[in-house]
Symmetry: C2
Subunit: 308 residues, 2 copies
């Protein structure tokens, strides 16, 4: 099956901005429905889980789930559940990272962080419960038409992306690196785990909700590796050149905390060139994947050209 024959490209009439708005609304509704209601005890925990998850964020990971799902013609309801799963993992990681024993951040998306608003113990439980909810959401894709064997593979993929060889492991390396100057390769390894693994998992989960042509699998992996790194390089650039109002957090904080960044390791100009090179790699993968990968291409541009 050729790329062009695989499924309809998104309607030409819908701009990327409209697509993004539609998909963001969609994941917001799905998260609303997945999260236990406010009235459900323990009410304070559920309120804090909703505070941590709803009404904010760029939703980059859910957008990747939908974009990869469109490439493979996956059913929308399954993609909603998969998008919720990665966003719950992402939201839990932010809540735990913001805690005093980690980054000690008081502001997130322009609002008090969860532990400031609800206390440290509740913030820890919010993260713990959101991680469990993520795997519940993966299991729910089965009821929306994803074959059970694919759901098992998705469970393993998300668990490894979130665990000690993925995101949590990246955090641990980050902790150990404070105040040190990391070689470029070690920095890349840290970010691949800390940020890249979950971004790649978002693509993998979306694709697993449909049928991936074997030839496309390698291109999806290359796309995921490129945008995963690009995301972090741009984050580090914005930490230096961005302003707090646009970022919703304190600019320069990572550098001030003595954390190694791409900018501190490579310098600003080389970091910008690296981001451009990675965008080129992502574009090449998108071209190979064909017109169904259009939204993956749009997201790659968004990641590299964003200002917050």
């Amino acid at each position: 099956m050729t790329a062009a024959a695989r499924g309809p490209a998104p309607a030409e009439a819908e701009t990327f901005a409209l697509w993004t708005a539609r998909r963001c609304e969609q994941v917001e509704r799905a998260l609303e429905a997945l999260l236990p209601a406010l009235a459900e005890p323990p009410a304070r925990l559920h309120e804090a889980m909703r505070y941590a998850t709803l009404g904010g964020g760029k939703r980059v990971r859910p957008l990747l789930v939908y974009a990869a799902g469109e490439l493979v013609g996956a059913p929308d309801a399954a993609l909603d559940a998969a998008a919720c799963a990665v966003e719950c993992i992402h939201a839990y990681s932010l809540v735990h990272d913001d805690l005093p024993c980690m980054d000690n951040d008081v502001l997130r998306r322009g609002r008090p962080t969860v532990h400031v608003a609800y206390g440290e113990a509740t913030a820890m439980l919010v993260g713990d419960a959101l991680q469990a909810l993520a795997f519940d959401a993966v299991a729910r894709t089965h009821a929306h038409g994803v074959p059970a064997a694919s759901v098992v593979a998705m469970t393993a993929l998300l668990a490894r992306a979130a665990g000690s060889l993925g995101m949590a492991g990246g955090q641990a390396i980050d902790l150990d690196a404070v105040g040190r100057r990391l070689p470029a390769q070690a920095l890349q390894d840290m970010h691949q785990r800390k940020t890249g693994a979950l971004l790649a998992a978002a693509i993998g989960l979306g694709a697993a909700c449909g049928l991936v042509a074997p030839a496309d699998r390698a291109w999806l992996d290359r796309y995921g590796a490129a945008i995963g790194l690009a995301f972090q390089v741009v984050d580090d650039i914005l930490d230096v050149v961005g302003d707090a109002a646009a970022l919703g957090k304190t600019a320069g904080k990572d550098a001030d905390d003595g954390k190694p960044t791409y900018v501190s390791t490579l310098g600003l100009d080389a970091s910008r060139r690296l981001a451009d090179d990675l965008l080129g790699e992502a574009r090449a993968a998108v071209a190979a994947l064909g017109p169904g990968a259009r939204r993956l291409g749009d997201i790659a541009e968004l990641i590299v050209t964003r200002h917050s």
Copy 2:
């Protein structure tokens, strides 16, 4: 199929003590193999994960997995993975519960708690990574012969037992209850979530690794509900009458912390009678399940008659 015809009862020659020792060794080996090696980076995180998980604990949840698995003739390798899954969730919950923002415990199983030994940030990441590893372990049961649809059901079961409507939710209720006197029903609800949900999930996971006769499902649920509550009632009794050396933690700590307990709510004698009544319920369920449920019966006796 009658209970007697369903599969061989455990060999008469093996005492419960020998069975327990054998199964505990088995889950220890399985955890050893599941946990990333010490040399695998991030080494400090992996060392702390092993410290939190290996070489200690009563392994009640893994024993329940094996006992329920024996009832349904489940393959041993699948039970190993399922036993690891519940034990990883249990171990993560202890690490997080011990943190200063929660119970602030410095001693666990007679050793310094994880945050005392490795620092708070690492302890939080240990818990986060162990929860992810638990779901990875559930997914691995598929490679050991469990049908994919059963694995999806197991994923959902464990996620709900661990999440805000289960264990994490019970912790949140516990937090809010400090210094208050809870009605017996609210206390029971709290413990059902905090401890009972994961014990019941252990039974459910073991049973899902094989084929459960429909008539047995309700008896397994009744057994699980009874021993789940009995476990906590006996915990509360031991907190009052036990000694620190046998418990491996500070006796009387829960009462001193102003936490409502069965003993503080019902009194010591009524708590003992409740434990006996629950043991009776568990025995009735075991009798209905037949000789294949022999080890479930043994575990119920162990839970109620233990001294630590």
